[in-house]
Subunit: 258 residues, 2 copies
Amino acid sequence: MIQDNNVDFVHNGDKQFLHHLSIDCVIFGYHERQLKVLLLKWKHSDKWSLPGGFIKLNETLDEAAARILSERTGLAELFLQQFHTFGEPARSVRSAADVKHLETILEAPMAKDHWLLKRTVSIGYYSVTEYSQVNPQPDLLSDECSWHDINAIPKLVFDHNLIVTEALKALRMQIYIQPIGYNLLPQKFTLPEIHDLYETILNKELDRRNFPKKLLSLGIIKKLDEQKSIGAHRSPFLYKFDKRKYDKALKEGMVLAF
Amino acid sequence: MIQDNNVDFVHNGDKQFLHHLSIDCVIFGYHERQLKVLLLKWKHSDKWSLPGGFIKLNETLDEAAARILSERTGLAELFLQQFHTFGEPARSVRSAADVKHLETILEAPMAKDHWLLKRTVSIGYYSVTEYSQVNPQPDLLSDECSWHDINAIPKLVFDHNLIVTEALKALRMQIYIQPIGYNLLPQKFTLPEIHDLYETILNKELDRRNFPKKLLSLGIIKKLDEQKSIGAHRSPFLYKFDKRKYDKALKEGMVLAF
């Protein structure tokens, strides 16, 4: 049987949350040329979904996104960015089988006008993290919380596959106008390492010469008087982000063309 | 007294519209180095607002945005882009005076839990049009519907000033990654004309040589074998958009750096 606080959520959530609205989080994970997405597997089911939830009556959207992500996966302090709101009228319709499944778990029938069965518009947020450095945990509604390669995403519930696609589009656009990498690379990194990061996210080859030249000319990264030893005759120079310029570009935008 | 259909909207809208959600449209108007925003003046009041409204139970967000803009201003067939959703808990709180004003118009008291007094999250859309070519009209809820210079926007209701600021930011970011101008310039235009458009939107000077070079290299515009006669010794070449490449860039994105 489902835990009491979940029963309470389904039965009494209508007084605690805004109706018709939810938030879904697309958490991208990067590590050594791999890009993944964090997914939850619904309890007692083979259905996969994004970590999502509802907005409390008195919290901001950003607060709600951070709370929902933390409650559902254990991940905290990510830089979550709102990117698009999804509102197809039929996007959140639950099948008869889904409703039956919920009723079985709840050991009670759901009324036709139950708040969880209403049309729901969902506000999408995304973030990128270094997946080898975090340890996501499934919540009480889920059997599993795990990373899935961006090229091998299972069929997700509702319109969640579309939400992932749109988040990836937003991320790819975003890295042309805002810097990325501060929480994804070691504090000191080589040019091939940052080059790999951008190529992996964009899924395309970037010029080995122009790409770092552009980052350097924008002042986002700077060369250190220090080399990394990675083999007998290989000792590439190390670089680091200029945090002040990085934050400024994050706030004001920049244009990266390479 | 307010017209019957408005009374009906206030009294019975709770059955026709999604609660807790609205749409606000920021319509930018461009003409000869001027950038303006379309605003409505509330009926019997000195309050200004963006054209906004509510989402019907069975329409998509994009459909709702187009319908709302058309109903409130008469403008149709604009390319409306969703850019951000605004959800501060206190953003839509109506003052006691506002409620009294509504009650006077309605000739009836409003219950504390009236659907129009609930917390409302608003989905922002924006568009850019050539303001000398359209003729906006106020709706039954408004006394006036008019263009205001981007640098002289009055104090607006709720968080509408913030919504305009964020829409302008989104537009400025957008023109680096999507083309603009097809519905804003004559079919055949000179380089100074398109240069003026970009400078006005970005509110900064752009290099006279690099700017058109970039647009030409992306294939968005092409030079015609035709000159415009604008004076004794002045006959600049005319250009036009390559509609196929323009639409492709609109769909897939591009990167414009100058």
